[in-house]
């Protein structure tokens, strides 16, 4: 083994140990807040592991959605879910149950480890085929080709799931809040660090978000990663009180939410006429059509993530005067 190989092995081993340590802390932390912080740290370390696994697209998604957006939602929930310590300790299982759970979880983990090591070598897969069929489409990133072309139906259903989840979250509100604005309302900050950040960051963030969504077809990036950054910019401005969440009854917001999946469906159906069928693209038009879908999708992903972070409406609608 070369020196590079040994160094890489040491680096990977160290990274794996850190990932597991952060996961252990997330479980063992004395309270929900440090546990959630541990989870965010875990996610960032995992992002590095994804880079080491040769998956920069996944690393970006893990950082943006798996760690960033998920972390924000969990932290907001921790703050609002205070108390209940007695209830929690009363419901904590006894020693015997913990032991049984440990044995079960350990057995599953061990079986899985053995199974992974027993997977066939050379590994079967679609790497060569996916790579070979990406270039003729005019795309440079095979992951984007899988997401938008070969397995486009996965992505379409997933974007529908995202939009649907926004509606599901809204529907948890009490009846009287319907038509109100999602989430808590933050006081407007005119000076202080947050106000400064909320004015300086969004212009830069918007450019970066759009850039990452735009390069996705040729380089690591794409609608989910770029859309998350756009959503984050809105959340910063929202938390500083500079913008208000739109009412759940606002048709423009709903249109923005469904734009991505709806454009995807329409282009897909157009495939019956202009190409070989549903979700097929004519070779010459493949890239422009995909970019149109990606643009609409970026908008929808950004809106959906921002609104999922905000949550259900928490106040009755304001009276129109």
């Amino acid at each position: 083994m070369t020196l590079d190989g040994v160094l890489a092995g040491v680096l990977d081993g160290l990274l794996a140990a850190l990932v597991l340590a952060a996961a252990g802390w997330t479980l063992a932390a004395p309270a929900a807040f440090p546990a959630t912080i541990g989870f965010v740290g875990f996610g960032l370390l995992l992002t590095l592991a994804w880079v080491r696994l040769g998956a920069p697209d996944v690393a970006l998604t893990e950082a943006a959605i798996g760690t960033g957006a998920t972390g924000v939602i969990l932290l907001l929930a921790v703050v609002r879910l205070r108390g209940g310590e007695e209830e929690v300790s009363a419901a904590t299982p006894g020693r015997a149950l913990v032991l049984a759970a440990g044995l079960l979880a350990g057995a599953v983990g061990l079986a899985l480890a053995l199974a992974v090591l027993a997977l066939p070598d050379p590994a079967p897969g679609l790497a060569a085929e996916a790579a070979a069929r990406t270039a003729p489409l005019g795309l440079g990133n095979p992951v984007a080709a899988v997401l938008m072309v070969f397995r486009g139906l996965d992505t379409l259903l997933e974007s529908v799931v995202l939009v649907f989840t926004v509606l599901a979250v809204w529907s948890m509100a009490p009846d009287r809040h319907w038509g109100g604005r999602p989430g808590p309302e933050f006081p407007r900050q005119d000076d202080g660090p947050l106000a400064l950040l909320a004015r300086l960051l969004p212009p830069v963030g918007l450019v970066i978000g759009i850039y990452i969504a735009w390069v996705g077809t040729d380089a690591p990036g794409g609608k989910f990663q770029g859309g998350t950054i756009l959503a984050a910019m809105w959340v910063v401005a929202w938390a500083a009180g500079l913008v208000q969440a739109p009412s759940v009854a606002d048709r423009r917001v709903r249109l923005m939410l469904v734009a991505g999946p709806l454009v995807f469906v329409l282009v897909g159906l157009a495939g019956f006429g202009i190409a070989d069928g549903f979700l097929a693209y004519p070779p010459a038009l493949a890239k422009p059509l995909i970019l149109v879908i990606e643009a609409a999708m970026t908008l929808s992903v950004a809106a959906a993530l921002a609104l999922l972070i905000a949550g259900p409406p928490e106040h009755p609608p304001e009276r129109v005067t």
């Binding site: 990977d12 996961a23 696994l53 209940g84 209830e87 997977l119 996916a130 997401l147 799931v161």
Partner: protein, 112 residues
């Protein structure tokens, strides 16, 4: 291709840890955190499979990688939904666990 076995074992260990947490943690938020660890372990295994299936000259297998991206978005939606239901439960009943210790009658309609 050096990292695959190490991260494969890491993924398996994360699945075990997440499963354990889901079973023994009482507080709902801690359960949701454990669910995310479990999910991360599964996704890591997809990454390992993608790297093992990579071509000699080119990169890893793009198909499982794309599946992870889809899976991450779906897992995020699941977390958002679970958190909202947990918060609503807490708002209305003050509960922070899903155990049935308080003898509240589950289900059944009693409009009277």
């Amino acid at each position: 291709m050096s990292g695959a076995p190490i991260f494969g074992l890491t993924g398996a260990a994360l699945v075990g840890l997440g499963l354990f947490g889901l079973l023994v943690q009482a507080a709902v938020l801690r359960k949701i955190l454990a669910f995310n660890l479990l999910g991360a372990g599964v996704f890591l295994l997809f990454g390992v499979v993608a790297q093992r299936g990579g071509t000699a000259g080119g990169g890893a297998d793009a198909v499982p990688q794309a599946m992870v991206i889809t899976g991450l978005v779906v897992a995020f939606a699941a977390t958002a939904l679970a958190v909202v239901v947990a918060l609503r439960m807490h708002q209305i009943t003050g509960a922070a666990t899903i155990s049935e210790s308080d003898g509240a009658e589950p289900g059944g309609s009693d409009a009277a």
